[in-house]
């Protein structure tokens, strides 16, 4: 039996950032901003004793409990979780792989809509994170800034007049701010322009990473764009570098690529997308990579109007809910890889059976 049955209820829902309704949500999955902060009166995590970690966790928890408007948060003691529950939170992007695999006292506080998450005792004492659906970095920045202000009211942060907010790793020092936008770029991948586009981004202090790739090196359709530097610029400038200078340009290229694909062979594209939907909704066994590969095609099909009656939020949700820990939570029991493939196919069938991909071609 899996411990902490409460997560099985959480598994039925999905976070606010997956709803697929924010600005540019046909291409931008989510916007995320995190702030790295450390307490002034403790060493950084690597040099903390077990007692230090416990003291940090308790003290931050007490301070968060006393925050107004923060009464309905869920405070999760990661140390006490089973491995599958940790994996579940990683898949949901509420915690990092690093904190899931770490030792000692550590926790995460999450609001019911899963917009806010505060990790305690990650690489830094605090990692304050806000996620929004679509391209909405301004809202994300305002929210994370406000929460940071509230926490700062009762927590004395490690700060240096010259170097700013002090972090365990010098790549985060200064603002401690990392802006990350997750993009779905199948058009640029199919038209083989993705590397060209990203090479042109390299000179302007942003990092681009392919998130998932399956089948061949050209079919990884999810990319994350983040600021590379954290020191020497105001937070607002780093937010606008990613949100106003870089991401809109990539969106424009992706739209052009999609237009090109439609003009070049709408019937071929429609066929490809419909076959993907066909496999997802009828397969009896399907791996996680194959699912991701076909869901990516279907997602583009929905956004191009080639598939009717399938909200993009549903597809976003399926990307997360078909991952190993989610499937097992939804089933309420542990499953081996082969059983998961069967269960994944059943789950997909149940959620996609009403969609047959026969949008009017005209």
């Amino acid at each position: 039996m899996i411990r902490d049955p409460d997560f099985s209820e959480l598994a039925q829902r999905s976070g606010e950032w997956l709803r697929g309704t924010g600005p540019e949500s046909d291409i931008v999955i989510s916007s995320r901003i995190r702030l790295a902060r450390n307490l002034a009166d403790f060493p950084f995590i690597r040099r903390c004793s077990d007692e230090d970690r416990i003291s940090i966790e308790r003290s931050v928890r007490a301070k968060m409990d006393s925050l107004e408007d923060w009464k309905d948060i869920r405070y999760i003691d990661i140390e006490q979780l089973s491995e599958i529950d940790r994996q579940f939170l990683v898949e949901r992007q509420l915690i990092s792989r690093e904190i899931a695999d770490a030792d000692g006292s550590r926790a995460v506080a999450v609001d019911p809509r899963e917009q806010y998450s505060v990790m305690i005792n990650e690489e830094d004492h605090l990692r304050i994170q806000v996620m929004c659906s679509g391209l909405d970095l301004k809202a994300a920045w305002e929210r994370v800034d406000e929460l940071d202000d509230k926490l700062e009211g009762s927590i004395l942060y490690a700060f240096h007049p010259q170097f700013g907010y002090l972090t365990a790793c010098p790549t985060n020092v200064g603002t401690g701010l990392r802006v990350s936008v997750m993009l779905h770029l199948p058009g640029l991948v199919i038209t083989r322009q993705i590397e060209k586009v990203f090479r042109s981004m390299q000179r302007i202090n942003v990092t681009v990473r392919g998130l998932y790739g399956e089948g061949s090196q050209y079919t990884g359709d999810f990319y994350q764009v983040s600021n590379q530097i954290t020191l020497g610029h105001r937070e607002e400038d780093l937010v606008s570098l990613v949100g106003e200078d870089v991401v809109p340009r990539i969106i424009e290229y992706e739209r052009k690529a999609r237009d090109f694909l439609i003009k070049q062979g709408k019937q071929d594209l429609h066929d490809d997308v419909s076959r993907a939907l066909g496999i997802l909704s009828t397969a009896k066994k399907i791996s996680s990579e194959e699912t991701m590969h076909y869901l990516s095609k279907v997602r583009m099909g929905v956004n191009l109007g080639l598939i009717d009656d399938l909200p993009v939020g549903t597809i976003n949700k399926l990307f997360i809910h078909t991952q190993p820990a989610h499937l097992q939570k939804l089933q309420g029991r542990l499953l081996g890889s082969s059983d998961r493939n069967v269960e994944r196919a059943t789950y997909l069938q149940r959620h996609l059976s009403g969609s047959c991909g026969d949008a009017d071609l005209n």
């Binding site: 450390n38 002034a40 009166d41 060493p43 950084f44 690597r46 040099r47 004793s49 230090d52 003291s55 990683v90 990092s96 792989r97 690093e98 990650e122 690489e123 940071d148 700062e152 004395l156 942060y157 490690a158 700060f159 240096h160 007049p161 010259q162 170097f163 700013g164 907010y165 002090l166 365990a168 790793c169 010098p170 985060n172 020092v173 200064g174 603002t175 701010l177 590397e195 990203f198 090479r199 990092t207 681009v208 990473r209 392919g210 998130l211 998932y212 790739g213 399956e214 089948g215 061949s216 090196q217 990884g220 994350q224 530097i229 020497g232 610029h233 105001r234 937070e235 791996s287 990579e289």
Partner: protein, 176 residues
């Protein structure tokens, strides 16, 4: 095709686009791909190593490097060697103690050495931060020795420093 790190079939083919040497293709099994992507997402140690290598190639002699490696923070005890190896500092005071050694590194990573963004409304001076970390360690030791009187004295001291955290230069600047 097999995974680069084990015998399992490579089902993930990741193209790293931000390598300075140009795009790099990796062929990994699901498990190694997950590890790689999640590690990459949260750990910029690679860029630290790169920046440090660049910095250390510039004009430092072997002897200077060896001396620097042995330098230790008086508060947390971390050596520069340890920092170089892990890419992680040991405590906030390292930024003061290793300040001149970190500046070339920060320039290389951020192309800047001066924070221009948000400032907390309360912040303790570097010395008080160091003092607090040391006092906390003494308090833990006192508790271990069951010297609760001493531990409670230290706790009071800590509270006083923490409460006076607002009286440092940051706030003075704000008030000026």
């Amino acid at each position: 095709m097999k995974c680069q790190y084990c015998e399992k079939p490579a089902t993930f083919h990741i193209t790293e686009l931000t390598e300075p040497t140009g795009p790099q293709v990796m062929h990994l099994c699901e498990e190694h791909a997950r590890g790689f992507l999640q590690k990459e997402a949260s750990s910029p140690a690679a860029s630290i190593a790169g920046a440090l290598a660049k910095q250390l190639n510039l004009g430092q002699t072997k002897q200077e490097l060896a001396e620097l490696d042995q330098k230790e923070c008086p508060v947390c005890g971390i050596s520069f060697f340890e920092f170089r190896n892990t890419g992680r500092l040991g405590c906030p005071y390292d930024y003061t103690h290793f300040s001149s050694d970190l500046i070339p590194l920060l320039t290389s990573i951020h192309d800047a050495v001066e924070h221009t963004g948000k400032r907390p409304c309360r912040a303790a001076a570097a010395d008080s931060q160091a003092q607090m970390i040391q006092l906390r360690r003494e308090m833990e030791e006192a508790v271990e020795k069951e010297d609760y009187e001493r531990a409670s004295e230290i706790r009071d001291q800590l509270q006083i420093i923490e409460q006076s955290g607002g009286s440092d230069e940051t706030q003075q600047e704000d008030q000026a």
